[in-house]
Symmetry: C2
Subunit: 415 residues, 2 copies
C-alpha cells in the first residue's frame, strides 16, 4: 500500500524546527509493509493545504497529515479539511468533555480557544487523543483515506500506535510484506564498497534491492525484500546477509540497524566489558549517545565532562604540569583522561576527547576542529589527532562518531 | 522570492534518516529574505524526480535540490536532470582533476564509480564542491533556476554558504526583506497566551504576522515583518516587542530565538554565575545541550554522569546509606548530587537528575518516566518529581528541558 505524508507548519518552512514526525511515521508504516512515496511540507495556508491534498490523492489512496491543529489563530487546517470533504463544523460534546478532564487533571482552566478544539467537521470519524486536546480526524472519500493528527510528536506517536495504524490495516486488508536487513560496514568508502559488491548486486534476486547509506566512516548496507511470502523473503534475506559476510568479513562490525553507540553496546555486552567517558570538547555528547541506548546501564558506568582544566585536574587526576606543558588539547592529556576516568568509574574501557569545537578558541597551531581522541581497554590506550571542518555542532558530532568508531575498532582488533 | 526544496532519498522515505538539510536551507534562505513555500521529499526514482521538478516549477521559479548524487548505482538524479533540461552527459575534466586531488589528499584511490562523479550534464553550470566529490549543478530555463546539491549535510552547507546563495541573489536581484523576532515565554499555555494577546493581534500592522510555536513548558512567539523598507520594519518590530514586554512582563524569559540551554547561558553570563551538572537518567544530555552553545566554556565547568551508584557515591559524595534508604531516584539523592557537583566543579549553580528512562527498570512505585530533578544556586536547592510518558529518547529529552527550565526559573526568581 502506498501512502504520502503531508506535514503542515510555517515553523518548518522558515527552518525554525526540524520535522522528526515524518521520519518516525515513515519508519512505522514501513514496518507494517506500507510504503511512503512522498513527504510534502507546506504552510498553514488554506490553499496550500487543499492543493497538497488533491495532488497527493492523485497519486495515492492514503494521506497522513500532521500539524496545523493547535488552538491558536494561525491554525486553519480543520476548517479547510471540513470544506475539502464537503462537511460543516459541529461541536463534539465527547471531545469537549475529554478535554475538560484533560485540563482538570493538569489543574488548568479551559478558555475560548481550548473550547474550539472540540469543533470538528461532521464528515470525519473522531479518534480520541488520550495525551492532548487536538482531536484526531479520519476522513474517507471513495477508496481514499486521510488522517489528520496533531504536530506535537508525542501526540502523533500515541495516535499512530494506539489507533491509526490499526484502523489503516483493517480498512485496506492484507498487503505485501516489506522486510529490511541492515549491515554496518567500516574501513571502506561507499565507492570502494560498490566495486567490491558489483557481482553481488548483479546476482541479486529481483525481489531484493540494495542501498548504500553512508555516514562519515561508516556505510550502512540496506537490503529490502518485497513480496507476499514473508517466510521466503526472510530466507532470501538470510542468504544475502550470509553472502555479504563472506565478501566483506571483518569489515562488517554490526548486523543491525543501530547507531555507532548501539553497535559499541552490542560488542561491550558480548565481551562483558564496561565503559566510561571523559569528555572535554564533546561536552557529554558521547555519554548521551551511549545512554540513548536502552539497557546501556549494563555496560556504562558514568562520565566526567571536564570542560575546565580545574575539573580535568581535580576529578580526572590530569597533572597540572602536563596541562601547562602540552596544553589541554594534546595526546598526553587525552591519554591521562582515559586512564583517569577508567580508574574513577571502575570500568574496563574508556573514551576521552579534548579539542576545539569553535567558533572561537582556535590558534594557528591548533585550529578550530582539532580534536585529540583517546580510547582504551585496560592498559592498551590508543589516541589520534583528528581535524574536522564545520560548525560547532558538526565538529562535536563528528568527534563523537569518530571516538565511538575508534573504540569499536580497538575492541574488534583486541583478541 | 519564493522557492521550493526537493529532498531526494529512499532512506528518508523509509524513515531511516532524519532530514536536517531542509531546515537548515530554509533558515538560511529566510535570513536573506527568500521564502520557502514547500519542501518535497521523494525517492531516488527518475519519474518521481521529474514530476516533482515540473510540479515545483509550476508554482515557483527557484528549486533547490539535495541528495541523489552519490557515486553508487542507487543514484539516478544526474541523468534525470540532464534529460529534463534537454542536455547530454559529458566528462568534466576539471571536476575529475579536483576529485583526484581530493582523493589523493586523503590517501585514497579513485575507481570507476568515483570517476563517474566527473560526468555532468552539458546544460548546467558546474559549481565546484570543495569538501566532497559530487559536483554542484546550476540549471537555468527561462526565468527558472534549479540547483542540485549533494545530500551530505556538510557538503550542502558549504555549497550554499560558499556560492549558491550568492549566485541566487545576483541572479534575481533585489527583493523584499523578511525580518523575524522571537520571544520565549514560560508560565503560560499556548491557548492562555492567545487570549492574553487577542487585542495585540487585532492591532498588528498588516506587514507583521504573529505565530505561536509551543514546546513543552515554553511558547515561542515569532513576529515576522515583510516589506521593502528594512529600517521601517525594524522600527515596527521593536515597537511590537516592546508592547509584548508590557503585556507579558516576567513571563518573557528570553528575547532571542535560541534553545533553553542558550537562554540559560544568557542569564548565567548576565549574572556572572557558573553551572555544572550531575546526571543520571539524562546521561549527559543536559551537558550536551549546554555545551552546544558557542562560548559556554565561560559559564560551564563540567559534569559528572553518574549512571552507577558507585559513581554517585565515589565521585559525587552521595552517602551510601542515603542511596540504600531512599533509592537513587529520590529527592535526597538528587539534592545531594546538586550539592556534590557544585562543590566538585566549583560552580555557583548546578542541575541534577535521577530517574527511570526505560523501557525497563520501572516499578509500580516509580514507573518508567519518573524523574527527580534538582537545581541549585549556592545553598538554595529546589527539587521536583516529574513524570513523563513516552519513549526513552522522549523521557530524556523532556527531563533535560524541564531541568533547564527549572534553573532558569530559579535564577529569574532569585534577586
Amino acid at each position: 500500500m502506498k501512502s504520502e505524508i503531508i506535514v503542515i507548519g510555517d515553523e518548518l518552512l522558515i527552518g525554525q524546527v526540524i520535522d522528526t514526525n515524518s521520519k518516525w511515521m515513515a519508519s512505522e508504516l514501513n514496518k507494517q509493509g506500507w510504503e511512503v512515496t512522498r513527504i510534502t511540507t507546506i504552510s498553514d495556508g488554506g490553499d496550500d493545504i487543499k492543493e497538497a491534498i488533491s495532488s497527493a490523492f492523485s497519486r495515492v489512496d492514503v494521506v497522513l497529515m500532521t500539524g496545523g491543529l493547535g488552538p491558536t489563530s494561525d491554525d486553519v487546517t480543520k476548517p479547510v479539511l471540513c470544506n475539502y470533504f464537503g462537511g460543516k463544523m459541529i461541536f463534539d460534546q465527547s471531545v469537549y468533555e475529554q478535554n475538560m478532564r484533560y485540563f482538570a487533571g493538569r489543574g488548568l482552566q479551559m478558555n475560548e480557544s481550548t473550547r474550539r478544539q472540540a469543533e470538528v467537521p461532521d464528515v470525519c470519524t473522531v479518534i480520541p487523543n488520550p495525551v492532548g486536546t487536538a482531536p484526531i480526524m479520519w476522513f474517507e472519500q471513495g477508496t481514499k483515506v486521510l488522517v489528520a493528527m496533531p504536530g506535537v510528536p508525542h501526540e502523533m506517536r500515541v495516535a499512530m500506535k494506539g489507533d491509526v495504524l490499526h484502523r489503516l490495516r483493517r480498512h485496506y486488508g492484507d498487503h505485501d510484506a516489506i522486510l529490511h536487513r541492515t549491515l554496518m560496514v567500516f574501513r571502506n568508502t561507499e565507492s570502494g564498497l560498490s566495486e567490491r559488491l558489483a557481482d553481488f548486486e548483479q546476482e541479486l534476486p529481483s525481489c531484493v534491492k540494495l542501498a548504500y547509506l553512508p555516514i562519515p566512516g561508516v556505510v550502512r548496507l540496506r537490503l529490502t525484500a518485497r513480496g507476499d511470502d514473508e517466510a521466503l523473503l526472510l530466507k532470501i534475506l538470510d542468504e544475502m546477509v550470509e553472502k555479504l559476510h563472506t565478501i566483506l568479513r571483518e569489515d562488517i562490525f554490526c548486523d543491525e540497524d543501530t547507531t555507532l553507540a548501539g553497535a559499541l553496546g552490542n560488542i561491550l555486552k558480548q565481551k562483558g566489558l564496561t565503559v566510561a567517558t571523559a569528555e572535554s570538547c564533546t561536552g557529554g555528547n558521547i555519554a548521551h549517545e551511549i545512554t540513548a541506548i536502552a539497557g546501556s546501564s549494563a555496560y556504562f558506568n558514568g562520565s566526567v565532562i571536564a570542560y575546565s582544566n580545574n575539573v580535568k585536574q581535580r576529578v580526572l587526576g590530569v597533572p597540572e604540569e602536563m596541562l601547562a606543558q602540552y596544553g589541554a588539547v594534546s595526546r598526553p592529556v587525552v591519554e591521562a583522561m582515559v586512564a583517569g576516568v577508567m580508574q574513577l568509574a571502575g570500568t574496563t574501557c574508556a573514551i576521552a576527547t579534548s579539542g576545539i569545537a569553535g567558533p572561537d578558541g582556535g590558534t594557528s597551531e591548533k585550529p578550530v576542529g582539532t580534536v585529540w581522541i583517546a580510547v582504551g581497554i585496560g592498559n592498551k590506550i590508543i589516541s589520534e589527532c583528528a581535524h574536522f571542518a564545520g560548525s560547532r555542532t558538526y565538529i562535536i558530532e563528528r568527534a563523537t562518531q569518530r571516538a565511538l568508531m575508534m573504540l569499536i575498532d580497538l575492541l574488534l582488533s583486541h583478541h
